[in-house]
């Protein structure tokens, strides 16, 4: 017990944490004093060896990992529980959303989704001047960053070109905040070239927004729709994801004799253990937590049966290279056609495993495969199916090498294309890359421009100046700076040209 007390005391006395950050870290530590949901011995052993991983979500899930409310419900009907009438004006709508966000949980304690803001707000904008709209959005944006300072918090705009989306882009480029993160849903049949051009201009200014291939995502979901949240996860709207469990493919490869053994025996074995881990956590959430008795369900913001289970994988690059070594082959993942083909074969095998494994309390009864972007502690392990840092070929070859994977990962697969600053003089080159990536089957396109203060870590944004201040012991106003700082230390990623690193959620109390 004294070790546990020491750990709790260290949180209370950590000079870099605010009181609210300490409270949250203490709550997590307390949750993890409880016994884990019951698991069989094989699953427990695989979890302990971190061949499979629960993302350190905690021992007693009290809420889904990601919650994506349909904010249209509260905007059109108000809320009895929150004693809110249906808003009539833009001010009332913004105020309603600001209140709503405080009642939407997630794994981080802050909402990961704040709505398809242009479609939500458009009906309230008749008669609002451009200048008023700009000033109101700007105050709203400042509120989000200062009161909900978490870079996993995500807004969506598009696919239509409209005044609200344009204003949001204008404000976002001007303020360059870490929150909210932003995705433009792009549909070549609906979105205009001018909207895409403005979004690309924003990327050059602040590495946001991320651009999603709307037709591909739409086809993976139903009529109720989807949204992009957190680190570029595509999830059912009015639902979300109960949990994210992931497999370290490198560890699976190390336990295999060769590629055939990997594909036919070892991967299916650990895949099954990951399903069991996932089911145990979901059962706890659905059968013991009482979460679904919430007013969010009663009022229709979310639906109990619209929560998927995210089946994550990572370290594809290392797994392929381990199997190449075992076969005596020199070709490396990302650079060699045969190694790349083995990677695609593994992705296909994973998709097949997910397609045939039923799960309780899960949307459509099956998990959704996810190329997971990493944790701040993933030293020497590459996120998802990405090509290892510093080994990336040119951006076009990079996209072409990874494109065949994208069809297999409906709940998200992000890669980050890092470009040097010369592209700022030629934004059309970035538009070309984005359109080319979508034409090749990329589900989403994310670019970092070197030498920007605001950069993308795995999916969320950090300011390099904040990291420098945090490292100097000055603490941070934002929740995710500590993660970025940890990732920078442990993955040594800021030291080199592609400013990207793999992590999503922190292990220790430093969050």
């Amino acid at each position: 017990m004294s070790d546990q007390f020491a750990a709790l005391r260290a949180i209370t006395e950590d000079p870099t944490l605010s009181p609210a950050q300490k409270t949250r870290a203490l709550a997590l530590a307390a949750e993890n004093l409880l016994p884990y949901p019951a698991l069989d011995a094989d699953t427990t052993a695989a979890l302990a060896a971190r061949v499979i991983c629960d993302m350190f979500e905690g021992h007693a899930p009290t809420r889904p990992r990601y919650v994506l409310p349909d904010y249209q419900v509260v905007l059109s009907r108000g809320s009895d529980w929150l004693e809110l009438p249906a808003p009539q004006t833009l001010d009332e709508a913004l105020n309603t959303l600001m209140i709503a966000y405080h009642h939407v949980p997630s794994i981080t304690g802050m909402p990961v989704y704040i709505g398809a803001l242009d479609s939500l707000l458009k009906p309230f904008c008749d008669g609002v001047s451009d200048d008023d709209l700009y000033r109101k959005i700007k105050l709203f944006w400042r509120y989000i960053d200062r009161v909900l300072p978490d870079a996993f918090l995500h807004a969506n705009i598009g696919p239509s070109d409209n005044r609200v989306a344009r204003t949001i882009l204008r404000v976002d480029a001007e303020l360059k905040q870490i929150a909210p993160n932003l995705t433009l849903l792009y549909d070549p049949a609906v979105s205009t070239d001018a909207l895409l051009a403005q979004a690309v201009g924003n990327i050059l200014a602040c590495c946001k927004p991320h651009i999603a291939n709307h037709p591909l995502h739409r086809a993976a979901f139903d009529a109720r729709g989807y949204a992009i949240v957190s680190c570029y996860n595509a999830l059912p709207l009015a639902g979300g994801a109960s949990t994210l469990t992931r497999i370290n493919l490198r560890e699976v490869a190390l336990r295999s004799r060769d590629a055939t053994h990997f594909l036919t025996e070892v991967l299916p074995h650990y895949a099954e253990l990951a399903f069991r881990l996932m089911q145990a956590r979901i059962d706890h959430l659905y059968e013991r937590s009482g979460f679904f008795d919430s007013f969010l369900v009663a009022e229709g913001w979310i639906e109990r049966d619209r929560f998927t289970a995210m089946y994550g994988i990572f370290a594809m690059a290392e797994a392929v290279n381990v199997l190449q070594d075992k076969a005596g082959l020199a070709g490396r993942y990302g650079a060699d056609a045969q190694a790349n083909a083995l990677g695609v074969q593994i992705s296909r095998a994973l998709a097949d495993l997910v397609a045939v494994r039923p799960l309780r309390h899960v949307w459509r009864g099956r998990a959704m495969l996810h190329a997971q972007a990493g944790l701040s502690t993933d030293t020497d392990l590459t996120p998802g199916v990405r090509i290892p840092y510093g080994q990336e070929p040119d951006p076009v070859a990079h996209v072409q090498a990874l494109a065949p994977h994208h069809a297999f990962y409906p709940s998200g697969i992000s890669d980050i294309v890092t470009l040097d600053e010369t592209v700022t003089a030629n934004p059309q080159a970035l538009v070309d890359l984005c359109k080319g990536a979508f034409a090749c089957g990329f589900r989403e396109f994310t670019a970092n421009v070197a030498s920007r203060d605001l950069v993308r870590v795995t999916g969320y944004m950090i300011r390099l100046s904040d990291v420098a201040r945090f490292e100097a012991g000055e603490g941070a106003r934002t929740n995710t700076t500590g993660l970025g700082a940890e990732a920078a230390r442990m993955t040594a990623i800021l030291a080199r040209a592609p400013r990207v690193l793999g992590q999503e959620f922190n292990v220790g109390p430093g969050q």
Binding site: V396, A397, T422, N426, A429, L430, L433, G436, A437
Partner: protein
């Protein structure tokens, strides 16, 4: 029809509008000491001096010709340093159809194709054949066709070529004929005439000038530059490149590098003289 190709890039945002497929053709008719790609200047004469320099055994003489094994190469570039004539034993000979196939495979990513060098127009017939093939292809015709050149080509040479070319980036090394000869080994009359001819045809995308301290940034050179651009039209896009030491071999490696502040002074002078589009580097190393 085939060409000697030094290198192909599928991503470039600095060789014309949008993302471009860039084909660097081997061989140059100028001998600039400031060249940052000196290995693109010469054409291999199969002397074999590079063979012992290769640590991987990727080079050999087969039937008196240099043979390069790309699979053995680890891109250390030792052969380039060993070459006595600034050539490159790794150069490929590619057919028009092969480059057309590369363009097709990368089509969704491209705004266009740019032929650079070396000096692209040393292989003018190939340029003509490639551009004609691209223009005639229903899928590839949308790619804009650009040339990056020093313009050392007589008026007759531009005929026919301009019909299949959308834009030219013209490098003027110096305006004073004596200085030009010092910097390139050649006269600049053809290059200056090419600028006028291209501007009249509406095909001059950009005029490029390398700023070398004390040589091309002098009061006299800047005045001649301004007069020349005014003659072409004040809207002409002028890109100022900064002389740096990257890749430079020989006597120019001892020359002073261009500084950012001096570059901004020159740009300000050009703008004050009424030049409407003056572009300076985005990145300074």
């Amino acid at each position: 029809m085939s060409a000697l190709v030094s290198r192909i890039l599928r991503y470039s945002c600095v060789d014309g509008p949008g993302n471009r497929l860039v084909v660097f053709l081997q061989g140059c008719n100028f001998a600039c000491p400031t060249c940052h790609n000196p290995h693109t200047r010469g054409v291999c004469n199969d002397c074999g001096d590079c063979i012992p320099a290769c640590p991987r055994g990727a080079l050999a003489l087969v039937d008196g010709r240099i043979a390069f094994d790309a699979s053995a190469c680890d891109a250390c570039d030792a052969c380039l340093r060993a070459c006595p004539i600034s050539a490159n034993p790794m150069v490929q000979r590619l057919e028009v159809a092969e480059i057309v196939a590369i363009a097709r495979a990368n089509l969704p990513f491209l705004s266009g194709i740019t032929l650079s060098g070396g000096e692209a127009l040393m292989q003018r017939k190939f340029v003509l054949a490639l551009f004609a093939a691209l223009a005639a292809d229903p899928d590839l015709a949308r790619l804009t066709r650009f040339i990056d050149t020093n313009g050392h080509l007589a008026a007759a040479g531009w005929r026919g070529l301009l019909e299949v070319t959308d834009g030219v980036m013209l490098d003027i090394k110096a305006f004073d004929p004596g200085l030009h000869r010092t910097l390139t080994g050649r006269d600049n009359r053809l290059s200056l005439r090419a600028g006028r001819l291209l501007a009249e045809a509406g095909k001059l995308f950009e005029l490029r000038m390398l700023m070398i301290p004390g040589k091309t940034d002098t009061v006299g050179e800047i005045a001649r530059l301004i007069a020349y651009v005014r003659g072409l039209g004040a809207e002409t896009r002028v890109r100022l490149n900064a002389f740096q030491h990257h890749g430079v071999q020989g006597r120019a490696a001892g020359w002073e590098k261009m500084t950012r502040s001096r570059m901004e002074q020159v740009a300000a002078t050009l703008r004050a003289a009424g030049l409407r589009q003056v572009v300076t580097p985005v990145v300074w190393l």
